[in-house]
Symmetry: C2
Subunit: 228 residues, 2 copies
DNA sequence: TGGCTTATTATGTCTGCACATAATATACTG
DNA sequence: CAGTATATTATGTGCAGACATAATAAGCCA
């Protein structure tokens, strides 16, 4: 027992078998290192990893205890839409519906914290799986921080893909909602208006400058999946 | 520059400023350690952390390169419902609607991979924020792996809370969907039937034994939020 | 007793070294 | 020239020791 993985698993086992119960203080690193016959650094690595997943609470001097109310963390992976579709075994298709440059409505300006009158690139595009509408991409790009956004040919490559290589971001946020699909969206997805659709809204930033905000409307019935 | 955090930030800066572009091979750990004037282990920690977030691709012998198509990872935290509501500044309330013990319908049996005839505990409960319905919890518990589930008093404590301390799990999965709320659900949430609701379905396991599966139906308009 | 200072303790991290492991490049051999 | 054995190289990990840091406990003084 001298690899951090083995120690990680053993500690996990003790938590799962309730040998160490939620709230319990577990032995300190030095003692565990002695018990497992390894260096303290190795124990540290194992416990740190478990703490990162939220199963352990560690505080200097106070020691390490099993988390009382572990907060489940679901990691949702957001791949390229093309990959998403291809991974489902379907043929990817893409169609640009409209492209405009001009001022944005107040809601978008607020989301991007942008001055009135700043022109944005507005794209509406449909991603297809096996030639059937899969999701609608409604995107606003801030060309002030994304050089080339006005001139890029979004009829060939989707903004989703183009931005990945042309507009790096430092951080962003994601909102997931269930909404009745408005008529225009429903029409593009070839479903009845008002049906319940899963809508993801993502806004990304490069330091303090807003890069882009996008609304991805899925067809009714679409599922988002994640392991715990 | 001798803490792994500083090195982490500096490498991140070089990626963000595109000094190191997606696909680029970056210097090896030994060279970076020399450049930053620190031990290789320190560089390793910084690069490993960046690799975990998906920004770097590392392979033995091949070296470290900036990820070409970083897969965005949104971490959605799933707190106790009580905490969720209280964190929004509302007063938490809870009301058990029904409790039954008996065989489960095929869909639930399939999700839990359980034999026909195995009796399950079925709970229907409403969580309230400021005395207003917030979400409906439709839960099935496998008492075979959760001792005490048949006798616990779910009129006082929610299953959501009780299970956290009485039924540890090793893994699970989560599905997020937008669905038109069926009449019974809508009624419990005091909204019109058919409105679009965000429905989270979570199933948890203790090794190979199904612990519980739950369907959490949110009121229309509810948002799930996450940082990128 | 209350409030301040000082010790103690557990985790956090860095260093320098060693060896393990995986993947690739090179040399060799039939 | 194909196929295999071997060397090389970058990351992965382990160890012992040291010091840093945060949080608590103990001691002290008014």
């Amino acid at each position: 027992m001298n690899s951090w993985q083995e120690i990680h698993d053993e500690v996990l086992r003790r938590i799962h078998t309730r040998q160490w119960k939620p709230g319990d203080l577990i032995p300190n690193e030095t003692d565990l290192a002695r018990e497992f016959g390894c260096a303290r650094a190795t124990v540290n690595r194992a416990l740190r990893t478990l703490a990162e997943t939220g199963l352990l609470d560690r505080r200097r001097k106070a020691g390490t205890r099993v988390t009382l109310h572990p907060v489940g963390k679901a990691v949702i992976e957001i791949p390229l839409i093309r990959r998403d579709i291809e991974d489902r075994g379907a043929r990817y298709g893409y169609r640009l519906i409209s492209r405009q440059i001009g001022p944005a409505p107040p809601s978008i300006r607020a989301a991007l914290r942008i001055e009135t009158g700043t022109p944005l690139v507005h794209l509406l595009a449909c991603h297809l799986a096996d030639a059937r509408p899969y999701l609608l991409e409604d995107r606003w790009i801030n060309p002030a921080v994304v050089p080339g956004a006005e001139t890029a040919d979004f009829t060939r490559i989707s903004a989703n893909e183009w931005l990945l290589t042309h507009a790096p971001y430092t951080h962003g946020d994601l909102t997931i909602a269930a909404e009745p699909l408005p008529p225009q969206t429903a029409a593009a997805l070839q479903v009845a208006a008002g049906e319940a659709g899963l809508v993801l809204t993502r806004t990304t930033w490069d330091h303090t400058a807003a890069v882009t905000t996008v609304r991805l409307s899925h067809r009714p019935g679409h599922l988002l999946h994640s392991a715990l």
